[in-house]
């Protein structure tokens, strides 16, 4: 019993450290990013949960700055890849180069690309061709890179934080479904409010520039992620996640009416995983050891919006995924309703 109590106290201490470090990271990022509190929080949640993040917004809203700030607040190897139409896969993964050996022999040596980092910023990812976009697939899911029959493991932690412009813009290539599904969250950055805009002007046009301190390490992130997975989730909360995902499947009998009308493909199991993992981090940030319905609901939109593929009718009717998700969240019953 004594040992058990010590274990509980240690666990409780871990939980306190979790909250403190996560709050510190959010605060440090908040020094550079004005407003966008939900985006900052959700980005940190993804990092803790070990997921990749796709951030969408028109140019100039601070998407890149957000990721750069995270790279500074957390002691991680950071690399930035600016995606362009002429970017090649090898420009991302790296390639074998011929080197002259000391003995005069020429051999191939693998030169790692920018993907070999802890935090990779894939800036404007949808400006590269699908072939180049696909170069990130293996790294994002399996945390490894295959080049010339050789497999190179990526050092943990590994996160890809991609930014993209709305696909309606010129010179963009929509991400293939398989790659989109590998992003844990898709976050949408909106325009700042008037007050936030004023604050941005004050911070960025003055003489003093805010400094972001390192408040966490990669190991801290890994530990936090491991701890978050221990958070309890009751069966009825888990059932709610399942119900939400099933509601996005057009062929499912429990599918929402809007799903049947406008959705071509529903969410994959990765959406459910993403929701539960993110919800566990939300619960820890809130000082709880259990996942609540509200945690799931908070994670539902960013976890499902990019996994919901709409049909032509939806495009014709100008229906957005968030509208369908709102309807699903509104109608899906929770235990106790």
């Amino acid at each position: 019993m004594k040992l058990a109590m010590d274990g509980s106290e240690a666990t409780e201490q871990q939980a306190r450290d979790f909250r403190d470090q996560a709050a510190a990271v959010i605060d440090e990022v908040g020094k550079l990013i004005v407003g966008q509190r939900d985006v900052v929080r959700d980005t940190v949640v993804c990092l803790i949960a070990g997921g990749n993040v796709l951030i969408e917004g028109v140019p100039g809203l601070g998407k890149t700055e957000l990721v750069r700030a995270l790279g500074r607040a957390i002691d991680l190897r950071f690399s930035r890849i600016q995606f362009t139409p002429d970017l090649m896969p090898a420009d991302i993964t790296g390639t074998n180069v011929v080197v002259d050996g000391a003995d005069g022999q020429r051999t191939f040596r693998f030169e790692p690309g920018p993907v070999f980092a802890n935090l990779v910023l894939a800036d404007e990812i949808n400006r590269a061709t699908p072939k180049t976009q696909a170069a990130l697939l293996e790294a994002m899911q399996e945390r490894q890179v295959s080049v010339a029959r050789e497999v190179y493991l990526l050092d943990p932690p590994f996160f890809v934080m991609a930014t993209q412009n709305p696909i309606e813009m010129e010179g963009t290539y929509p991400l293939p479904e398989a790659q989109v599904d590998r992003f844990m969250f898709k976050l949408v950055v909106d325009y700042p409010t008037a007050g936030e805009l004023t604050e941005i002007l004050d911070r960025t046009t003055g003489a003093a520039q805010p400094e972001v301190a390192r408040v966490a390490t990669g190991d801290d992130l890994l530990a936090m992620g491991a701890f978050a997975r221990r958070v309890a989730i009751a069966p009825h909360v888990g059932s709610y996640v399942v119900d939400l995902v099933k509601s996005t499947h057009p062929e499912d009998p429990t599918a929402h009416e809007l799903t049947r009308q406008y959705v071509r493909y529903g969410c994959s199991p990765r959406a459910a995983q993403a929701m539960v993992l993110a919800a566990k981090v939300y619960a820890m940030l809130d000082g709880r050891y259990n996942v609540g319905f509200d945690d799931i609901r908070a994670a539902a939109r960013p976890a499902m919006r990019h996994r919901l593929l709409l049909n032509f009718e939806a495009e014709a009717d100008a229906v957005r995924t968030d509208q369908i998700l709102d309807a699903i969240l509104m109608s899906t019953r929770r235990a106790g309703d």
Partner: protein, 504 residues
């Protein structure tokens, strides 16, 4: 933290409290159980007005349906008790502890506890340390729960208003259906219900209040009237008209004037005597007078034709006989005419008696209905007695072939009709014959005061009217006979009747 994690039984919560529930004895469930009971009572209270309103609605429909169907008022009142059934169900439900998970979810939702309680109750696959921390967290949250503010005992006002309205409507419907304080449901229903209470047709002339005594009295009167109506001879009225018409024709002749007057005035006894007198006088008539009388009789026969064929035939036969010139035949025909006139007279007179009784009963009925409408008790008991007497008299006039009619004595006596065994010779002096030789009698209870002797005008045997056969029955009873007593009573009873009606 100050929270006891070790499972134990709290003071005041004994084991039996858990036996009927899914709640265990550990700290979390001990704390949750009373909260769960409160939530159960709260939600029962929330649903109660709607459920009760449904019950009241059902009861209302039932009450209206039963009232319209004319079922007894007691059953209608019992139907209203259907509204109490949901009350019993709700009360029973309020006493049952809900499932722990349901209660935990309810408090999670109401107190914004982010499923702390329900996760602790439902369990999870988390490791033991996290589960323990989570349970501790849930207990801490539970300690801060103020159940009274979370689930106050307050029913929705709107629902309460609807329930109150429904209850008022139900009460009004029950009042209308079971009493006459309010108009009964629907105009038709009002009339039919009143008619039902009075046993009368829905003619609108019925009282609003239904005093049982008055209703019984009215029923009795109506029964007596129905019986009298049944016993009236349908040929009596045409026979009277025939006699009147024949009398008019005969009054125009010199020889038949007296016969005609007698017939015209309805004095059939005198008319029969005049017919016989004519039979004796025809031997002194010349042919002209006989022809004149024959013409008068023929015209009288023609006028009576279609009204009373028997009388018309006898008149025509007498006319033929006179025209034939055979004195014996003419005398015989006039004698038969006299007998026929007597028969007609008996029929008409008997019917007149019934008609008089019906008139009297109709007046009594009107008085009783007026008394019922005013909510007054019935008149001093003489009316039912009279009605019964009339009914008995109806039996008396029916004659021996009709059988007996039960009877009661006057309202001031406790007499009652009863069938006797044995012979009429065994009747006690206090008893008298009720009807027509069918061995049914009416027992007359003697009154304390001789001055209370009441005349029973149509009672049983005895002569009608004040003239003729007056007789006393028993020591203080008083009966008035009728002149047709001989016709209504078998002849072999007459000696006993003479003795019976003789003064003591």
């Amino acid at each position: 933290m100050g929270i006891e994690l070790t499972p134990r039984i709290a003071r005041g919560i004994a084991w039996p409290a858990f036996r009927g529930t899914a709640y265990g004895p550990d700290a979390l469930e001990q704390r949750l159980l009373p909260l769960a009971r409160r939530w159960q009572r709260y939600r029962t209270l929330q649903e109660a007005p709607r459920v009760l309103t449904v019950g009241v609605g059902l009861a209302l429909v039932l009450v209206i349906a039963m009232a319209v169907a004319g079922l007894p008022r007691v059953m209608v009142a019992l139907a209203a008790s259907v509204a109490a059934v949901p009350l019993v169900v709700l009360a029973a439900r309020a006493l049952v502890a809900p499932p722990p998970l349901a209660a935990a979810l309810a408090y999670d939702r109401r107190m914004a506890m982010f499923e702390r309680l329900s996760t602790a109750v439902a369990g999870s696959r988390a490791d033991s340390q996290v589960r323990e921390l989570q349970r501790r967290d849930a207990l801490q949250a539970l300690a801060g729960v103020d159940a009274a503010s979370a689930f106050p005992y307050r029913a929705p006002r709107g629902d309460l208003g609807v329930l109150a309205l429904a209850a008022v409507v139900l009460a009004a419907a029950v009042l209308a259906a079971t009493t006459d304080v309010l108009p009964r449901v629907g105009g038709g229903a009002t009339t039919s219900a009143l008619a039902e209470s009075l046993g009368a047709e829905a003619d609108g002339a019925t009282p609003a209040l239904a005093d049982p005594a008055v209703l019984a009295q009215i029923d009795q009167i109506r029964a007596a009237m129905a019986e009298l109506e049944r016993q009236r001879d349908p040929e009596a009225a045409p026979a009277a008209l025939a006699a009147e018409a024949a009398g008019e024709a005969l009054r125009r002749t010199a020889e038949g004037r007296r016969l005609g007057r007698a017939l015209d005035s309805g004095d059939f006894q005198a008319a029969a005597g005049e017919a016989r007198e004519l039979g004796e006088q025809i031997s002194g008539m010349n042919s002209t007078r006989m022809d004149e009388l024959a013409d008068g009789l023929r015209e009288a026969a023609e006028r009576a034709e279609g009204l009373d064929e028997g009388l018309a035939d006898q008149l025509r036969a007498a006319a033929d006989a006179l025209e034939g010139g055979q004195l014996a035949d003419a005398r015989s025909a006039l004698e038969q005419l006299a007998q026929e006139i007597e028969t007609v007279g008996s029929t008409v007179q008997a019917d007149s008696g019934l008609e008089a009784q019906l008139d009297q009963l109709a007046r009594q009925l009107a008085e009783a209905e007026a008394a019922a409408a005013d909510g007054l008790p019935g008149t001093e008991g003489d009316s039912p007695g009279d009605a019964a007497a009339a009914a008995a008299a109806a039996g008396a006039t029916e004659g021996s072939a009709e059988g007996s009619v039960g009877s009661q004595g006057g309202g001031d006596s406790v007499a009652s009709g009863q069938a006797l065994e044995g012979t009429l010779e065994t009747l006690a002096p206090e008893q008298r014959l009720n009807v027509d030789g069918q061995l049914e009698i009416v027992e007359i209870a003697p009154t304390e005061n001789g001055s209370e002797l009441i005349e029973r005008p149509v009672l049983e045997l005895g002569p009608g009217g004040s003239s003729g056969y007056e007789a006393s029955a028993g020591r203080r009873g008083y009966a008035v006979g009728r002149p047709d007593v001989a016709r209504n009573v078998p002849l072999d009873m007459l000696p006993m009747m003479d003795r019976y009606f003789a003064a003591p």
